[in-house]
């Protein structure tokens, strides 16, 4: 399969043009580097935003590109978080080993779950993913002896990166660590989505029967992408564990899956950056609104959601690209 795709990508040369990085993209990542210097006191919060953004990217792969709706994506985040946590609590303190094992474990879980999703419509998938999420939550909740149940997993000790850089109280090491891992995974995802494989996923989202008729092996594609997305979600979960040195059971909660869906839709689906932009807006808004009114802050979030869904199709990035197009159109008119 990959051999075929490689041949195909050589065959359609215009796809190669897309692999070039746009200046807005470079600016985006440089800004994230800049955050380290400009907001040294908010790095813990900034790390959480990045982790959430990475988690949302993994949802974008399956929801935005492949069109699989899910309400249980936190399952893989949680599996990654607990795997990394349990390893660190039982003597394997190396952070990279933790990431690797967490990613692989979540990936295997994703692979197994994908067979439940390859058939059936949106509603079926919604129910199945919801079911998997709830089931896993209660499994962890009841296994108090190993997981700490609702009290969370204690005694997570993370070793130094390369044996040199320890995780400090201000989250300096953590931020750089999270930024580098996020960037590497983003580059990987980006090149995958710009390849013919990414196009194949989008054509499955558009029209399954037609995709099948032009030679796209639908179930194989969906199994692949679901497993890869689970790996990335698992790594995001492991990053949260390692940077906070704690695992709370809320990593598996329904709320996390639902929030993630909101984040991605607010940011914009199938854009690669929608998850990150959504995470920034959502978490900042949450922070700000809950300061204004700690008890009823979700009221305003509700309003924001309704307004955005009605008037800002394609999320923030969708609205932004329409603005840019309008501006270009207007400028062209001026010129002529």
């Amino acid at each position: 399969m990959s051999d075929n795709l490689a041949k195909a990508s050589r065959h359609v040369s215009f796809l190669r043009g897309r692999e070039r990085w746009k200046s807005a993209e470079i600016a985006f990542w440089l800004t994230l580097v800049g955050v380290y210097f400009v907001f040294p006191s908010s790095l813990v919060f900034a790390s959480q935003i990045l982790i959430t953004g990475l988690f949302a990217l993994s949802l974008d792969m399956i929801l935005g590109y492949a069109g699989i709706v899910t309400l249980g994506h936190a399952a893989f985040f949680g599996i990654g978080a607990y795997t990394a946590g349990l390893m660190a609590a039982h003597g394997w303190h190396d952070p990279f080993l933790g990431l690797l094992v967490a990613g692989v474990t979540a990936g295997i879980a994703g692979y197994l779950c994908s067979f439940l999703l390859s058939k059936g419509g949106d509603l079926t998938r919604l129910m199945i993913t919801l079911g998997i999420g709830l089931l896993l939550y209660e499994v962890v909740n009841s296994a108090t002896k190993y997981t700490g149940g609702v009290d969370g997993l204690q005694g997570v000790e993370i070793g130094k990166l390369f044996g040199v850089f320890g995780f400090d109280l201000y989250g300096k090491t953590a931020y750089i660590y999270v930024l580098i891992i996020s960037f590497l995974l983003f580059v990987f995802t980006r090149s995958m989505m710009n390849s013919p494989y990414g196009l194949a996923l989008r054509s499955i989202r558009e029209n399954q029967t037609r995709a099948l008729a032009i030679g796209i092996p639908i179930s194989a594609c969906l199994t692949n992408i679901y497993s890869i997305a689970a790996v990335i979600a698992g790594i995001a979960g492991a990053l949260l564990t390692q940077t906070t040195q704690f695992v709370g059971i809320d990593v598996l909660s329904f709320q996390r899956s639902a929030d993630l869906l909101l984040i991605l839709i607010i940011g914009g689906t199938a854009t690669m950056y929608g998850g990150f932009v959504g995470a920034v807006v959502f978490l900042l808004a949450q922070n700000w609104l809950s300061n204004l009114n700690p008890q009823y802050w979700q009221f305003f979030l509700g309003i924001l959601l309704i307004v955005m869904t009605l008037y800002l199709r394609g999320g923030i990035l969708g609205g932004f690209s329409r603005l840019v197009n309008l501006f270009r159109h207007w400028r062209n008119k001026e010129h002529s």
Binding site: N4, K7, A8, R10, H11, V12, S13, F14, L15, P196, L199, A200, R202, S203, E206, N207, T209, R210, A211, L212, A213, I214, G215, I216, P217, I218
Partner: protein
């Protein structure tokens, strides 16, 4: 290249293709004619694996095709352009073409040479195209697989006469210049007979007449009998 031997196929228990036999050689172009509902589209669906085959054998390049899943048939060199066109609406023209591109003589350049309109529209989204452009894109997308055999299901249906002429020229170039093998299902009998080498007339799911297109055009009584249309003498 493609052989049907006493094939019975249909949807569920209903038989639509009834004891059908045919053979097609490489480089051949065949017009598939017949009245409405005689199983022309179902024959194409059977070739692509979207019907249930009850009996008989279908062979493709020496390989038994009956058990092969639809996507693998497309990869094995069968390019199908269904009647509904089904362009991916949120993908651009270029992306629609690139989805399943396989190496071969058909690439973006040669597709654009065949359908210059697609090149003009290459950055447009699939849902911003006219009916004729969608049809060109659907054919182009199937050609990007570099199929050994192209299956066209009523490509001229519902299009303006100017566009019909334009498409006919492109299809003719595909057959004459590129030697593309194809099966053309068409209600526009005259155009179909003008394009293809050989004609098969289908009646109640089986081939009842097999002739060179030029012979059939000269033998109007056969056409009237099986297809039920009057054809102006060429």
């Amino acid at each position: 290249m493609l052989t049907f031997e006493n094939v019975f196929a249909g949807y569920g228990e209903a038989i639509v293709i009834d004891d059908c036999s045919l053979t097609m050689g490489e480089g051949e172009s065949v017009a598939l004619l017949g009245r409405n509902g005689v199983g022309k589209s179902s024959l194409l669906l059977t070739i692509m694996g979207h019907t249930k085959v009850h009996r008989g054998s279908i062979r493709w390049c020496g390989q038994d095709l009956v058990k092969v899943p639809p996507h693998a048939r497309a990869r094995a060199g069968l390019g199908w352009v269904p009647q509904e066109r089904e362009i991916f609406p949120s993908l651009t023209v270029e992306e629609n073409l690139a989805v399943t591109a396989l190496p071969g003589k058909w690439d973006l350049k040669s597709i654009y040479a065949l359908f210059p309109r697609l090149q003009e529209r290459r950055k447009n989204l699939g849902n911003q195209l006219s009916g004729g452009e969608q049809q060109m894109l659907a054919i182009g997308r199937a050609l990007m697989l570099n199929p050994k055999l192209l299956l066209l299901d009523e490509p001229l249906e519902g299009l303006a006469p100017v566009i019909v002429d334009e498409l006919c020229i492109s299809i003719e170039r595909m057959i004459r210049d590129e030697g593309q093998s194809l099966i053309l299902v068409e209600q526009h009998v005259e155009q179909a007979l003008g394009l293809a080498h050989r004609a098969l007339v289908l009646e109640r799911g089986r081939v009842v007449h097999n002739a060179k297109c030029s012979d059939l055009l000269a033998n109007i009584s056969v056409l009237e009998k099986w297809v039920g249309v009057r054809v102006a003498h060429p």
